[in-house]
Amino acid sequence: MTTKGGIDLANDPRPLGPVGEGRSRARDEAIVSPVLAFENIIQDFRSPQGDGALRVLDGISFDVKPGQFTAVVGPSGCGKSTLLQMAAGLLFPTFGSVHYQGQKITTVNRSIGFVPQQAQLLPWKTLRENVELSLVLRHVAAKEREQRVREILAAVGLSGFENHYPHQLSGGMQKRASIARTLIYAPAVVLMDEPFGALDAQTRMIMQNDLQTLWARQGTTILFVTHDLTEAILLADNVILLGRQPTRLKADIAVPLERPRNVFQPFHTAGFAELYDEVWTIFQSEIGRPAALTNVG
């Protein structure tokens, strides 16, 4: 293709639309290359009336840096789970692109791990079979599988339940198993879609604490979607704040709190309250009002 001097629009990788704050900031600090880069993501869905498109995501850009815990927070229905679907290669944005390790995602992303809202274990497999599945799919030898299953089950506190079927485990245990089966193959990035949303308050705090410990040990990159501000601030290095639909990026806030953090008594953590107030001030204007619908043709 020869376009003398002119700009080849079709092949120009640069986004045409507005560029969000998060992206420009990441560019300034571009010391480490991002493991995941969302570039000007626009997502339209067919509107319920069927007479046009509903713009859900309206130009979202941000980076996920390796080894970091990034949380995405936004009001319900703002399309934060949609972003994870895109990072997993299960859905492709209407405009814009998601890059994994510099490569544009065009198919199912098998280098990442995904922890869904519900545990979604395979009901016909025992705990052991569920947890070792990714290794079986990769033809890892039985002996090594056994060793790794033992280690990861010990790490999430599920030793002794190897031969139980999912329906024989409690909700919290299923969630642990779901995390274990993702961490066992050490994916470069773990995507978590409101993983603790369905748990009771006590179990959730315990799981948050355990996740913090696991993450510190494994050193993996986590992109964590939640609607819970406290959870986001307590767990993340970076909080991406999304507005209401059509969703734009409101803020990309660094969380400099010391680790490990006390998830059981967050307000005892120095600096937490101030940070919470700061985030809340931005977030406040985005909730409590009905989402505006925009017709885009």
């Binding site: 997993a88 299960l90 199912v108 791990g113 979604q120 395979l122 009901p123 497999k125 599945l133 799919l137």
Partner: protein
């Protein structure tokens, strides 16, 4: 197997051995009670036959037992039994295999399904029994025309169950397994087939009596050997005991096949919570 919930007092809980014994006792009692209606029916039949209904119409249980014994002891019925058995097994296995493969293929290939589903629907609507004369022209009066008829009847039941079963697999489970690194064939093995297993087994269960219908109708239409022929000849000879003897053997076939299906179900679906187990369990 359902056992009535037991009232556990402190004393009983203290001795698990005794409790286990009680469970076994209860189970045997339940079985005994289960047999009672059948026995009552046979006694009523025996008593009423010749008294209120002419024996030439309904025969009587003792006569049927005697006739059955004669037919087996003399070896008269054995060739028929073997022929029908062969036809049933072949027809059933071929029908089930084709149903699983066809249902799975169409469920996984939506474009293929869009083209072929209307045709399958149309064929489903054809009364399969009407095909019996045609199959005899095509496959002769030997076992293969009966095998074909049984296979066709079985095919549709299994086909539809597998088709629905595979199509209703939770998309999220498929996606998650794909992200974990599964290839297409690994998805089939670890997700689609196990997810469809309850439907496959339900189809297989439902298909058992249909395979018997297919074979017997085929044999009625035209055959050289088989239980269907035995029954129709007994009927032509005004031998109701012979007719019932033939039916009793067919019942036995169904009974054995059902027991096999139950065992298969227990093995393949042992991961399901107890309340989801099939209601219809014939021991």
């Amino acid at each position: 197997m359902s056992v009535a919930p037991m009232s556990t007092t402190v004393r009983e809980a203290a001795s698990p051995k005794r409790q286990a014994k009680r469970v076994i006792w209860r189970r045997m009692l339940m079985r005994l009670i289960g047999v009672l209606p059948g026995v009552a029916f046979l006694v009523l039949w025996q008593w009423a036959s010749g008294r209120y209904i002419r024996a030439i119409y309904v025969s009587r249980p003792t006569d049927i037992a005697v006739r059955l014994y004669q037919a087996i002891a003399s070896g008269e019925i054995l060739p028929d039994l073997v022929t029908t058995g062969e036809e049933l097994v072949l027809g059933y296995v071929i029908g089930v295999a084709m149903g699983i493969v066809g249902g799975y293929a169409l469920a996984r290939a939506p474009r293929l399904a869009a083209v072929f589903e209307p045709y399958v629907m149309a064929f489903y609507g054809v009364p399969k029994i009407a095909l019996a004369p045609l199959f005899i022209i095509w496959f002769g009066i030997g076992i293969w025309s009966k095998v074909a008829l049984a296979a066709v009847m079985v095919f549709f039941l299994v086909f539809y169950n597998v088709y629905m079963g595979v199509r209703t697999v939770d998309r999220e489970l498929v996606n998650l397994t794909m992200i974990m690194g599964a290839s297409e064939s690994q998805l089939t093995r670890h997700v689609y087939l196990p997810a469809a297993a309850p439907f496959v087994i339900m189809g297989m269960r439902m298909a058992i009596p249909y395979s018997v219908i297919g074979v017997i109708v085929g044999e009625f239409t035209s055959s050289v050997q088989g239980l269907g022929l035995f029954i129709s000849q007994a009927s032509a000879d005004y031998d109701p005991a012979g007719v019932f003897a033939g039916i009793a053997i067919l019942l036995l076939f169904v009974f054995v096949a059902n027991a096999g299906a139950t065992r298969l179900e227990r093995r393949l679906l042992r991961w399901r919570p107890a309340h989801q187990e099939s209601m219809q369990q014939i021991p």
